[in-house]
């Protein structure tokens, strides 16, 4: 029971590394797509990422929330010791979100260039800082307690830096593969080739870092090193390495769809390897069992999780289906469908607008509900509140749908604007 949430947390972390990582990487590549020449690449990046931007980042919230609910002491220890990189990641997330929202309003190349630079830099800063956090935990530098670890060396050390840089390189690689696949789907072969080159460069860098990893870990984080070089940890490490090489080979042969899946598997394998290598301890001297919340809490979270997943899974599938089948692409023709009623016919339809009678009835129901709420307590008050809110909702529909007294004097759209 105590270990189920940590498995879910690691799954969430892997999903965030793959999906959120692709998003960070897409930001990073804006650095290489400056000026007029790069504008095709930037536009493509934004078109591909925009519909999934928010959704990709909810994974991080999920990881945080699961951690503090199911392993509260471990979470408190981590947050208070690794305060600086977490805060930096937070600032990076704000700047990134702001830059993202701002891009919609840019009109000149200069504005767009400035925003794009901010976006790129914060896209590098955030995964790097989060990688430092992971490195601090993995190398056993977070003692149990309120701010008990060193406030600098807990995150500025070989393991942290390795994972920070690796996080950035992986993000860049995943993004390039994703964007290459997406560009080919909409038929922009130039853009696809440009991202293929980027994917190969980033893939080689990430691979080199991963290969150097064991040397750093063996001296800086011997416990994790031992875990990753024996038993199940070793299997996960090797699986990740094989998948990483295979993904690169698929990019070379331009099979981006398969490359995307295999690269995701490489990330998932190394995250799993971390979990296996560190097991059973979550922090030095604190096992997962000891850190876990009571079974009641974990059961409640798992029930909530299952119910949430029942709604989430089809929703997410719907979004990705629309995205990956190109429904949001610029070239897609508008969908044929029953056209809304035409204005002339609707104007003649008396039911298109509400009546004064409906308005007064709904207003009276709201007032009655308000009266009951005001004078009563307990269950009767609940009835009053329900009447009041239901009445207010209906009253809004009625009042906002009343016809206007004068026929529109100014044609629409208005010439003076």
């Amino acid at each position: 029971m105590a270990e189920i949430p940590i498995v879910l947390i690691l799954v969430g972390l892997a999903a965030y590394t793959v999906l959120g990582g692709a998003d960070f990487g897409a930001g990073l590549w804006e650095l290489t797509a400056r000026g007029e020449r790069g504008s095709a690449l930037r536009d493509h990046t934004h078109r591909s990422m925009a519909p999934v931007w928010e959704a990709n980042h909810v994974w991080l919230i999920f990881v945080l929330v699961m951690a503090w609910t199911c392993y509260p002491e471990a979470f408190g220890s981590i947050a208070s010791t690794l305060t600086i990189p977490l805060f930096v990641a937070g600032v990076g997330i704000i700047l990134r979100g702001a830059a993202y929202a701002l891009r919609a309003g840019t009109t000149t190349p200069r504005e767009e260039g400035a925003i794009s630079l901010l976006f790129a830099l914060s896209s590098i800063l955030t995964p790097f800082a989060l990688g430092l956090v992971v490195g601090g935990i993995a190398s056993g530098r977070v003692p149990v307690g309120n701010a008990q670890g060193d406030e600098i060396t807990s995150w500025w050390n070989g393991t942290s830096l390795l994972i920070g840089v690796l996080a950035v390189a992986t993000a860049a690689y995943l993004a390039a593969v994703y964007l290459a696949a997406d560009a080919r789907r909409i038929g922009s072969d130039d853009v696809a080739e440009a991202f293929r080159t980027r994917a190969l460069v980033a893939g080689l860098v990430a691979g080199a870092l991963a290969a150097a990893g064991p040397f750093i870990l063996s001296s800086d984080a011997p416990d994790i090193y031992d875990g990753l070089t024996s038993g199940a940890g070793l299997v996960a490490l090797l699986a990740s390495g094989v998948a990483g090489v295979a993904a690169l080979a698929l990019v070379v042969t331009r099979r981006y769809g398969a490359a995307r899946l295999v690269a995701a598997a490489a990330v998932a394998a190394i995250v799993a390897g971390w979990g296996l290598a560190q097991r059973p301890e979550i922090l030095p001297g604190l096992t997962i069992d000891e850190a876990a919340a009571s079974d009641t809490t974990i059961t409640a979270v798992l029930i909530g999780f299952a119910v949430g997943l029942l709604i989430l899974a089809p929703s997410l599938a719907y979004l990705f289906r629309l995205l990956l089948t190109g429904r949001f692409d610029p070239a897609t023709a508008p969908q044929p469908g029953p056209a809304p009623a035409d204005a002339a016919a609707a104007a003649a339809d008396p039911t298109a607008h509400s009546s004064l009678r409906t308005t007064l009835i709904t207003g009276a129901v709201t007032a009655l509900g308000a009266g009951i709420t005001f004078v009563s307590n307990g269950p009767l008050r609940s009835i009053g509140v329900a009447l009041m809110l239901g009445g207010a909702f209906a009253c809004f529909l009625a009042v906002a749908s009343l016809d206007e007294a004068d026929p529109p004097a100014v044609p629409f759209p208005t010439p003076e604007r």
């Binding site: 503090w68 009571s294 070239a331 897609t332 906002a400 007294a405």
Partner: protein, 448 residues
Amino acid sequence: MPLDLIASAFGPVQQEYLLEARQMQAMSFVAHIPLVCFGVAFPALVVFAEWRHHRTGDPVYRTLARRWSKIMLALFAVGVVSGTILSFELGLLWPGFMATFGDVFGLGFTLEGFSFFIEAIFIAIYVYGWDRLPPRTHLLTGIPVIVSGITGSFFVIAVNAWMNNPSGFRMENGEAVDVDPWGALFGNSYLAHEMVHMYVAAYIVAGFLLGSIYGWQWLKGNRSRYVRTALTISLTAAAIAAPVQLIVGDWAARTVAKEQPIKLASFEDLQETTKGAPFDIPPGIEIPDMLSLLAFHDPNATVIGLDSVPPDDRPPVGIVRASFLTMVAIGSLLAALAAVFLYVRVRKRRLPESRWFWRAAIAAGPLSVVALIAGWVTTEVGRQPWVVYGVMRTEDAVTGAGGIPIGYATLAIVYAGVLAAVIWILRRLAARPLEEDAATTTGGSGHG
């Protein structure tokens, strides 16, 4: 490691900058809550506009819905980051609170996470799906955005209600034991009124702020159908919500009087426990028995005073009282403005013509935000010195890490920049020609 050792690792720490930590948290909430109002209320207004387009075929509704949906997405994107910062800060600033009670209230955030996820998914489908989905399907994809906005705030407010009126656990050696997370979050007498109060406030804030923006254009002489329709929808929502809020506020005050008498006493700076307590309105007007009447609907009821607890257990009365009065005063003014609007709208089937009405309506938007923040301060500063009311003091929750003033200053600068950026982007979006959103078959919605 034995359990009691874990618990003692989160014992009280020396934190010189507790007040700064609280201010930093408050600043982040002040930035986030107005965005929440738009997250909760705006989708319903946008979907309503689209529904009117389907019902009447009138293109003005479609233009409005398209234009608003882009603003909705931009505000949601900013809300995503300000919300993420809040969840970071819970751990960064209050590790003692999280370590001790994360397992009691965390379920609320787990469920909220799912809500938020659903909202993010469907808001993207809705905004990027204009012209790409069949019209009816497109309208329907707006519904999950509305519902998840409501459920998301419901779960977060469940946590806040629990902090103000904690239950569902027992303390043993500084550890929360016998935890019942469902009961703690959803079996709480504070949840219903806090939720309804916030939900109604969302419509007031979103409605009046939109009313300010379009009211400004109206005063400048733009009486186009677009502006009139935008004003009708936004002000109708705010005008129905504002009077309802007076009743909900009364319900909230009566519950606080019962469960958190010290908070209620600080609303009125009532020092001694008094039978038939009066209500003071600055400057110096005293209405006899009024506080008893308001708090208990009985002029002779006894209201507990601040001196019933030691000074260390009292909230900073001045701030709480000023915030409470500000909230009540603005709320009453907004309700009066709402009555004028509704009368003209229903009786004369048009918008008010008076310049004074529109000046007041322009002021109403920012004032409603002030009332919102004042309400938050009333309930959260009124909870002090407790983070979990009567169970854990805020000073026992704070981090032992250094550098709070640096973090506070950094975040303040970043937020000021973000605020400027949000205003800039909204002006830019508003300056775009309406034709861009009026066309039914453009391929150009991608740059929204």
